[in-house]
Amino acid sequence: MATAAAHQAYGTTEDTADTGAYERAFDAAVAADERIEPRDWMPDAYRATLVRQMAQHAHSEIIGMQPEANWITRAPSLRRKAILMAKVQDEAGHGLYLYSAAETLGTSRDELLDKLHSGRQKYSSIFNYPTLTWADVGAIGWLVDGAAITNQVPLCRCSYGPYARAMVRICKEESFHQRQGYELLLALGRGTPEQHAMAQDAVNRWWWPSLMMFGPPDDESAHSAQSMTWKIKRHSNDELRQRFVDICVPQAESLGLTLPDPDLRWNEERGHYDFGPIDWTEFKEVLKGNGPCNEQRLTQRRRAHEEGAWVRESAAAYAARHTSRTDGASKPGETGATRA
């Protein structure tokens, strides 16, 4: 084949005569830290792993809009409201970057959304917790976006080109998210005793779920080893979790807030903070669908999709009519509608 569309995926293993040579080229490219691009040959399992991870990542971005959007109408000032709207809009954008990147692997947007809506693909369990007070917006920005950044910065060097490029764009935008959250908590922490207590309560509730965002411990992480070999992942879950804890402890001190872990202390020998055990039962329950907001998040997502159907349909109808008019070749039966 001489030419093909830019996004057309290369054939799967079955189509190729000499898989061995392709596989060696793929392995060599990954080993040399080169990027794999959409139309390169890649192992089916590599493609499937990427689709699963990128879809889950994209779903997390758009589901993640919900807990924060919950506070847009009740933001305490116009400044905070404008910031929060920009932040939530960014998360929509992150979802779109990632869906586009996932589509380069041969899946369609509709297919991905269907899988989210039917529960066949997951999103980050962190978004199944409720945002009870305004301070939660700050705690999410600082801790949840903070944990996301720790996870995502190494993904900017992921072996799959479109994913890595999407992550570069996302990481640039995330730093505003984290800083606005931190500033929000700082304002509350320095406010009235009630405001300080509200900030502390939010941090207490979001701390442990944020640590769970890095995924199960290394010895229980099903896909980690293979993903590391493929350079989709660059650091282990526990390594990134430790990095996040080390970053957060001094930041909490500057906020004048504490982290809800009695075992948290500096370990001179390791050069890291020790921290207490994570409740993985809770993590598994939330993942299984038994978190406080699982039902609500999916219902809301499906409803938004259904209620937006008429917009998508009318835009498509307008485009079809417009195109047929400019082409000067309207299809049979369309003329009447055009004049109506």
Partner: protein, 95 residues
């Protein structure tokens, strides 16, 4: 659940005057006009661009990766196309 298959568009953004348009990513839109608006909202929320091109993805013709070597080979054996190929005595200036 109703889905509407909007076509895919490739987005190219000129970040400032004097530079060429660079591929920024892709998006779905029903037509070119919407594609432009969506591209503005998606890829230039922080003033990343002064001009946007949108192109239907299906209109792009790409070279095929498996013919990479023969396709680009003609360039490989022509080192004399590079300035470093030529030896110039030391001390000769502005060359």
């Amino acid at each position: 659940m109703t889905n509407t298959d909007w076509p895919l568009w490739e987005v190219f953004v000129r970040s400032r005057r004097g530079l060429s348009h660079t591929h920024a990513g892709s998006l779905h839109a029903p037509d070119a006009e919407f594609a432009l608006r969506n591209a503005r909202d998606l890829y230039t929320r922080r003033g990343e661009g002064v001009s946007i091109w949108v192109v239907p993805s299906s209109a792009i013709t790409a070279s095929s990766p498996d013919e990479k070597d023969p396709f680009f080979e003609p360039a490989a054996d022509k080192p004399y196309r590079h300035p470093t190929f030529y030896e110039i005595p030391e001390g000769v200036k502005h060359l």
